[in-house]
């Protein structure tokens, strides 16, 4: 939050209170403004929030604990398929969200631990390739587990997933107030997702500024020294994988409910890399930065898609670079240039793992 406040022009540095109010207002009003352009933009915002959640979760693994995970989307898939299994006509089971979402998160966390165990001793680059393999394995299984027993319905995916019902209230149904005035369900999803994202951010922030967050940072910076101050490196790494996966699992469940359809092609390696690009772009380890990174990189392609094609058609009479290529170009350049020019990301504000201000307010502490 503080990072977000700081980037507000002028007020960010001069009057943080006003800046904070501006940020809050923007977050709350954004979907209504987007609705002015068209509900499609609200849907994009909804997806952006899911990406924020994924990025915040991956940041916990990559940014805090320094474990490069290229198979992160697998946990998203676990969450989404949990929803598909337990809240769709596929098995004829329709459980409420407060059972399915925690279960999805739990399965994802379990998957995180299963991935974590064999890779505990691996160094950064080996870890990357094994996690990549893990992501692919999960996808391949989902694509093939329709034979000999049909579990995942294979490449056809699972359709007609239940939408999100929060204690009897169907989020996917517009609220009709009068005949001419109703609240779009996309807006409702936005605020529901916003609640989940806010909760995730609060939890991740609490973890960061805690005994556990500091232990992760210590392992990231020097795992031998971390052992030497008494940190159980193995358990801490497993916890990082499990916690990161949990957020992925919740996001996956919400994705399933929102989209109403899951199929293995939504969980490709490309998606893992997109989320990684968001984390890197915003600044590894820096929650505010990661949020901005996720928002920017999920909006940019849509903006490109709306304006790049008409602009090119107007300028050159044809489409030279289609939006998909522009999108890949953006991700590729984001990864390369961020690492080369600003390894700490768009907003290299220092990550904090303590709150010295609380205790040391009356003591003189230098720069």
């Amino acid at each position: 939050m503080d990072e977000l406040v700081r980037i507000v022009p002028y007020f960010g540095t001069h009057n943080p209170k006003v800046a904070r109010a501006i940020v809050l207002a923007l977050i709350l009003v954004a979907p209504i403004l987007a609705l002015g352009i068209g509900p499609a933009w609200v849907r994009i915002l909804d997806f952006a929030l899911l990406y924020v959640m994924l990025a915040v979760g991956l940041n916990l693994v990559v940014g805090f604990a320094g474990l490069l995970d290229l198979g992160y989307i697998a946990f998203y898939a676990v969450g989404a398929y949990t929803w598909a299994f337990l809240a769709s006509p596929h098995f004829g089971v329709h459980l409420p969200f407060w059972i399915v979402l925690p279960l999805g998160a739990g399965f994802a966390a379990l998957a995180g631990v299963i991935l974590g165990f064999p890779v505990l001793r691996l160094r950064g680059d080996y870890l990357a390739i094994v996690t990549l393999g893990f992501g692919e394995i999960v996808r391949i299984f989902m694509n093939n587990l329709n034979h000999p027993i049909n579990i995942t319905n294979g490449p056809q995916g699972i359709n007609m997933l239940d939408s999100l019902h929060i204690f009897g209230w169907d989020v996917s149904r517009r609220i009709v107030i009068t005949d001419s005035f109703s609240i779009n369900s996309l807006l409702l999803y936005y605020y529901v997702f916003l609640a989940f994202v806010t909760l995730s951010v609060i939890l991740v922030q609490r973890l960061q500024v805690s005994r556990i967050g500091r232990a992760w940072a210590a392992i990231r910076d020097d795992d031998l020294a971390a052992k030497a101050v008494g940190i159980n490196v193995r358990n801490c790494k497993l916890l990082a994988f499990a916690m990161g996966a949990t957020f992925g699992g919740v996001a996956g469940g919400l994705f399933g409910a929102f989209q109403g359809f899951v199929s293995p092609e939504s969980f490709s390696l490309m998606e893992s890399i997109i989320v990684l690009a968001m984390v890197v772009f915003g600044g590894m380890g820096n929650i505010g930065g990661v949020i901005i990174g996720a928002l920017l990189l999920s909006w940019l392609p849509e903006v490109l898609r709306s304006y790049a094609v008409p602009m090119q058609t107007a300028l050159f009479g044809q489409v030279l670079l289609d939006p998909e290529i522009l999108r890949m170009l953006v991700y590729a350049l984001a990864l390369i240039f961020m690492m080369l020019l600003r390894p700490s990301g768009l907003m290299p504000a220092h990550s904090r793992y303590s709150r010295p201000d609380l205790v040391l307010a009356n003591k003189r502490v230098g720069p």
Binding site: F47, S180, F181, S182, L186, Q259, F261, S263, S266
Partner: protein, 369 residues
């Protein structure tokens, strides 16, 4: 502050009820990416139909109506498909002709269903599309549940009883291969092996060696041409004598190009829903299409054209452009299109859709009688 927000919200949520003279019709297909040529073809089919209708002048419920095309690009990606569907709903279209691929059509159909908008796909052939129980979902092409059996019937009667089946684990390939396998078994044939590859693979030697060990008469591949071409080559490299059969994913010039000198006359076949272009009831269509867009008909434009005019026909009959009003008319419609008679069964599938078998001959695909 509060008041302006409410005003803004009213502006955003309010729906326009006034009857417009302009009626928007949506079209969604991949306009960029690997299947862009097919997507553009589909969209142009819709465009031509709208231009024809406008030129003729359509009167619905006593009012003169001008139709307008809203074309969107779904990149053949399910997630983009739903985003695009939302954009079309936002734009206030009264019907959508699309999407092109089954993978994008199925999730998108849910959004159209919620918005109460009629959707007719000119080309999505996955059977489950019309099995969702959506009232407003139709298609004007025979689905895989018909193509698979047709291909199986051809294989069993003309090529042999022992069949090996391969699919590429994509929604399209697996769906078609499953229908084919079912029909072969029902028709008294034997499936010697069922093998799998991916839609990114280029090496099929391992699975083909396995196929070869069972010595089938026919190899059926449910997949697309980038895999089909090299597969034909490797069939030859392993000295396999079996005939090679594919669905519509292989009925392309691309397959012939990629298969190179390995493809032989009399040993490669493919099936495709619909009648061959040369045998379209309305031969005029091809010429008019070429004249209008300076491009040959690729595949789906006649179906998109028919789908569009079918909807317009239904609007005329019902005397309304509102989907809820013209839907009953559409269900009962009998529209004489360029691809044949368009009428729907209770699920929204085309009744009596034709399937054509093609054989490789003289460097191209020739329809068999």
């Amino acid at each position: 502050m509060k008041k302006t927000m409410i005003a803004l919200a009213m502006l955003a949520f309010g729906t326009v009820h006034a009857q417009e003279m302009v009626v928007k019709i949506g079209s969604s297909a991949p306009l960029t990416g690997a299947q862009a040529h097919l997507g553009k073809d589909t969209e142009n089919g819709v465009r031509l139909a709208i231009e024809d209708a406008n030129a003729k002048g359509v009167v619905v419920g006593g009012k003169k109506v001008k139709f307008e095309l809203v074309g969107e690009d779904d990149q053949a990606d399910p997630k983009q498909g739903t985003a695009v569907a939302q954009r079309l709903v936002d734009a206030g279209v009264k019907a959508v002709i699309g999407h092109m691929n089954s993978g994008t059509t199925i999730p998108a159909s849910r959004i159209y269903n919620q918005a109460g908008i009629v959707m007719i796909s000119p080309s999505a052939t996955n059977p489950t599309l019309t099995q969702q129980g959506f009232e407003n979902v139709f298609r004007v092409m025979a689905h895989d549940g018909k193509q698979g059996p047709a291909a199986a019937k051809f294989a069993l009667s003309k090529l042999g009883k022992k069949v090996a089946v391969i699919d590429d684990r994509s929604a399209y390939g697996q769906g078609l291969a499953d229908e084919f396998e079912k029909a072969v078994k029902a028709g008294g044939g034997t499936v010697t092996t069922r093998e799998f590859t991916t839609d990114k693979a280029t090496d099929f030697m391992t699975i083909l060696t396995k196929v070869k060990s069972q010595n089938p008469d026919v190899i059926f591949f449910g997949g697309m041409d980038p895999q089909g071409g090299p597969m034909v080559k490797q069939v030859k490299q392993l000295g396999i004598e079996a005939k090679f059969l594919m669905g519509d994913g292989g009925c392309t010039p691309e397959l012939i190009k990629l298969a190179g000198d390995a493809i032989k006359e009399g040993s490669a076949f493919c099936t495709q829903p619909g009648v061959p272009l040369e045998q379209l009831p309305d031969q005029n269509f091809k010429a008019r299409f070429l004249k209008r867009f300076n491009a040959e008909v690729q595949a789906y434009s006649p179906y998109a054209y028919d789908a569009t005019l079918t909807v317009i026909d239904a609007m005329k009959t019902a005397g309304s452009v509102e989907p809820a009003k013209y839907l009953p008319a559409l269900k009962k419609i009998q529209h004489k299109g360029v691809t044949g008679m368009i009428k729907f069964d209770e699920k929204g599938d085309l009744k009596d859709g034709a399937i054509t078998v093609y054989a490789f001959k003289a460097g191209k695909w020739e329809p068999l009688k």
